[in-house]
């Protein structure tokens, strides 16, 4: 298996996601004092599988961006075509997402019902959108290096907001947690599905347009 090939990078994505999720789950359980109380295995698995999805979205997106920034340029300098690089990145996206969600589904076999599947599908959509945005950002930044400062500013602002929100929340006696519900998409499922599909395809199309003529400098 090539380390920088499709399977190698999918394996890396999955291992990092699972490892990081486990670590975060353990820290969370210890912090909330539940670990020592013999917290039920089912509850642990539920926590873990929830964290797995969020971490999976983050890790696959960051790995994709890193791939375009560092690895793909090397492959092109070694004679790989841009088309082949791009197709492999799409394969990595899809296979990594599929494996991570398959792990999540396997851990939640008892919850198999229509509502559960709807939530999973929405989260898969969010995952693919996030990856495609990351991909477009990375490809755009290759051709316009000033854009990396814009990304840095946005990410820093987001992190600052998150920390600030948590601190204010704790000061006000709350838990300092945030939550996001996918039930918002249930209000107009066809409309939101269409947006997701069109959005993902547009993002991939624009990324390809920028990538296929990209000048590679290493």
């Amino acid at each position: 298996m090539k380390k920088y090939g499709v399977l190698g990078r999918v394996w890396e994505n999955v291992v990092i996601t699972v490892g990081l999720s486990l670590t975060m789950m353990v820290i969370r359980e210890i912090k909330q004092g539940r670990f020592y109380q013999g917290h039920r295995l089912e509850a642990l698995i539920e926590d873990f599988s929830g964290i797995l999805l969020l971490v999976g979205i983050l890790i696959t997106t960051l790995q994709l961006m890193y791939g375009y920034y560092a690895v793909e340029r090397q492959k092109i300098s070694f004679g790989y075509t841009r088309k082949r690089c791009f197709l492999e990145m799409q394969e990595i996206k899809c296979i990594s997402t599929a494996v991570i969600f398959a792990i999540h589904i396997l851990l939640n076999l008892r919850q198999m019902n229509f509502e559960y599947w709807k939530k999973v599908i929405w989260i898969v959509g969010i995952c693919l959108i996030a990856q495609s945005v990351g991909e477009l950002t990375s490809v755009f930044q290759m051709r316009n290096t000033w854009f990396s400062m814009v990304i840095l500013t946005i990410v820093s602002a987001f992190m600052g907001f998150t920390v600030g929100y948590g601190v204010i929340s704790v000061i006000n006696g709350e838990k300092g947690e945030g939550s996001f519900s996918v039930e918002i998409f249930e209000q107009a499922p066809v409309f939101y599905s269409g947006i997701f599909v069109v959005g993902i395809l547009c993002l991939i199309g624009i990324s390809w347009k920028l990538w296929k003529k990209a000048e590679v400098s290493i």
Binding site: K3, Y4, Y69, A70, Q74, S77, F78, G79, T81, I218
Partner: protein
Amino acid sequence: MLNGEPVWENKEALKHIYFAREINAAASSVISGFKVKEYLKIASEYLPNWDKELAEELIKLFHLDKKKRIVKLSKGMTSMLTIVVALASKAEFTFLDEPVAGLDVVARERFYRILLDEFTESGRTFVISTHIIEEAEDLFEEVIFLHKGEILLKENTQELLEHTAYISGKAEEVEEFIKGKQVYGLEKIGRSKGGMVRWSEGEEPEATEDITLQKMHLQKIFISLCGREDDVE
């Protein structure tokens, strides 16, 4: 173009070509975080004719530390790494852009020797760009001079050297001698004149009492051609 086919995004054509450009080891570059062995690993996975044994041999010869990060390598070491990958790629057409930049004279000699050995054994085509023309003179079968993006000259190296000389002597004698010949960089020095003269096969001129003809090195030929291209007569 390669065999009549455009090379751009052509998977089959790209298998036969490797372009070795100078590795940017600056901290801000994309590969600065890679270790030498990681860089070689990517090369081995994606260069179809990768010769692992040759790469290992060259790494030992150049005393490169495989565990070192590229950002920690000196300019000479990054040049060596470029050379290792270029030679171990075993590409039919290998382009080396300033391969000896940052190498000391001993390392450069070592590189020229290895390159000649590889050329003799494999018959690969190497296209090398260099500013240290004089040293590489004995290496090139054919030389191409580029100036302001245009090809100034493309000729067999030996023929170029045999049919070019620096002429000097009394101004009137030199003027008489150079009639009908290609002359470059003609300069007046007091009552004498000097410049580069070229002739065709079979026309070899002879020195006289008042005129001296000296063999020129490739570097001097290049300077004469580029520095005074307006002086062609």
